[in-house]
Amino acid sequence: MGSSEFDATLGGDEHLPFSANSLKFAASRSIEIAAMTESILRPSKTKLIFQCLPVHMRRRVMSHNAKRLPIRHRVGHLEQLKKSGLPPKQKRPSRKYRRRPGNLLNEYTRRQRENVWLETHIWHAKRFHMIKRWRHSIAYAPCDKAFRACYRASSAHCLLQDISYHIPIRLTGTVDVIKEMFSKITNSGCGLGVCAKAYVDGKREGSVHLFKLNSYPFGYIGKATFIWHNDGSNKCLWLFIHPSQIEQIQSLLTDLLYNNTKESSNEIAEKRRKLMNNYSENIQMKLFPATYNRFRLTGPKSHAVLTHSLKCIQDLENIKNNKWMSDLNKSELYLNQKENYWQSIRSVSSPSQLPSKAVIGLVVKDPRLSRPKHRRKAVNYERDINVECLLNIPQFISTSPLWNTNIHDVIKKERLSNAKFIEHVTKTQLVPGEINEDDPALQSVPVVLVQRPGSQDSNFKKIGYGSGWDIILPPGYGLQFWQTFIMFGARSGGLRETESLAHEMGECYLPPDSDAGKEEEKRISEEMKEKYFRLPPSKRVNYVKLAVVSPFICPWKILLKDWSNDPVDGFYILRDKDLLSSLQDCIDQRKELPAIQNSSMCLIPVYLKMVNKGNLKRNALICLPEREDIQNVTSLFEPHHEDPNETLRKIKRKQHKVIIKKLKRKTSKLKKRRELGEINSSKTKIRTKSEPSEYVKSMRELWVPSDVKTVRRSCSRQIMGFLSQGAFSFSESLSCGVGYIAFNALDALLKTKQNQVLVRNTSSRKYRLANINIIKLP
């Protein structure tokens, strides 16, 4: 029994020390401690994280839903899941959850981060194909394919488009300084300048071609419309810029404003230097993206739509309490004059009867008050009209508080939402269905109308085609006005209608000498190429056999090089109005062209109309007719050409087939062995759809060779130019197109005393005859 004792004092055989050395104590146990900490940090157990949790923290289906784990474990859990090959699947939240207003709004703001949404986006998204372009989400075409209906609306009724994606820029400063600044980026030959007397008083909207700094005629950027506004002592210039050009123009203007000190040191004239140095002090530039709503109404009935939906405010008393009025000088509103003028032009049957490009500022009642119960057709008011009121734009009619950006926030804040509006109306109305139009609870809205004259030359297009109104609205009121216009008989269109209207009007839509135009050309050529190579080989047009060198994109530089024998760096489109009209006379009278500067780099914009049959398409070739061609045009075909690549393609395909067969055999062998378990099943690579393989690329090269060296003499007739846009034109009841031809080619044509050209589509051998007209408003 005594042997069981341990300590010597109790009878055991072990003598304990009187003191313990803590260092020694710890050191002898250090290995143990290390092993313990190691096992805590890296458990050798093959348990997953959620399995290690204490029982009271465990939840159902923890492994599937990471959110049931405590937050600190989630990352590790997901790591583990990835290792085990189970992709962490997140269930899509239920529709009911997604549709809760707050969640829906969150989702919408998330989607708006990359591409800006217009105010009418949701209305459009329900009815239109939406595309993402120029960093905006833009309605392209209505889902009901109403192509012809939209044309009819633009020519006989009213077509409504949301063009709020145009970005306003405000320049504040004195007229002289702005004029000086714009003299470097515009040219007087292209038409009236920014500071022309016709525009400075703000009664009319102008448009101007912008070029890169001091580089006219090269370096074209785009066309901008502008409106002047008197802002007390200073003048404001509001530029409206297409989003495809906004970056270029913004950087150009900021360069002009802030980085001009280097340049000015070289200037000799003292006065000029003074002016230039003062740019940044005298001119303030500010962008207002997504501020104004701008709707475009086209067609004769657009005036009727507007007169029905815009009800002017006659009495200042009625709107005195509107919050946005509080900071304004109320004597400058001229409500009576505006109301009178708007009434006097009420019965006009088409906007093209009014002064061209007139700007009218109105203060109108909330558009929801005047909606009809059902959608109806636009009808003109029938009353005799006094010619006097059509002649001039009365004074003060163009002023508008809308340009004062301080009131925008107030207007947006004070706006009654649709729900509130309905609630208010149902509460206050005495007779059901009747709405009090002078309701003080709804604030008035300042708007600006801008007339567009449309065609004013009866020889080119029927007078008044394309005429209409642009309406500029404060933020927040886009949808309200939009719906009212729709109810009064406007038909909505999208970007496709903008393109087709430009085609019908014979305008250059995004001309190819601007960056925006080049980008657009590239995008379309990529699309066409993809579409072409998606076809099976037997259905593809063999462009080599048709002698079409570049079927997807127009090689302008090569064309100009061929016609001038000099290397060409850049090119430009002729925009000088006097020159263009003199060229038109030369074509009419079949006389030789005058000599111009930079003729080897110059493209002439032309509008082509077919003489007989034929349908023009994009990228069609404009060719120089030979002597007898005009008489024999019915039997004029491009002769068949040999395709040297055909045999190459066949050989290549055969070789490729052999390789594929080999590979197939290999893979099937591998598969079998894997099934037997000889090889560890390695993870299969997921091939992403990205670059086409080398073989596909080389085959494509054999179908359409991309290295184009010469185009002029690539087919039996010399190529003068290309069509950049072509389709059947409803307004001409003919196939028409907009194209560009080299200046030297036009010269060569007129030397042969002809004024018609041959056109051939890229997919056809048939040459057809077409008349050419110079486009005078490129």
Partner: protein
């Protein structure tokens, strides 16, 4: 193609019309003011096919329209007269015409070609014709209907 920028040569014979008062302006036409529109009102143009407009008139008359009104302006007056006379022949005896003439004020925009000028407008006058074609007997119409 005549346009705003016609050189002087072409302009000279037309100078009497006072189409272009000044070299500094380009004349841009506006749409003329229209009389009351309706289903039975037809505006005769030079561009539209003559036969097509004749057929349209015939259709309207045979479908039971009691009267149709034809408007012609300027150079289209002759066409308008022709059309009305053709109708009279086609509907021999059952149709009569009544002619009114008038003057229409046309407004032109004067667009400045230089920076130091403002927009302007001018009024031109053009003769117009308004022909009322009405049925005296509805024989054909009754049969067709």
């Amino acid at each position: 193609m005549a346009d705003e920028n016609i050189p002087q040569k072409k302009e000279e014979p037309k100078k009497k019309n006072n189409k272009r008062p000044n070299k500094n302006y380009a004349v841009k036409k506006r749409l003329p003011i229209r009389p009351v529109e309706g289903d039975n009102v037809i505006f005769i143009t030079k561009k539209t096919n003559f036969k097509a407009q004749l057929d349209k008139c015939c259709d309207l008359l045979t479908k039971g329209e009691k009267e149709i009104i034809l408007h012609g302006l300027g150079a289209a007056i002759q066409r308008c007269c022709n059309l009305a006379l053709q109708l009279e022949i086609l509907f021999s005896g059952t149709c009569q015409i009544e002619v009114n003439t008038g003057t229409v004020d046309l407004v032109d925009d004067l667009e400045p070609l230089t920076d130091d000028l403002d927009f302007g407008a001018q009024v031109r006058h053009s003769s117009s014709i308004h022909i009322r074609v009405f049925r005296t007997a509805m024989l054909g119409a009754n049969q067709n209907l």
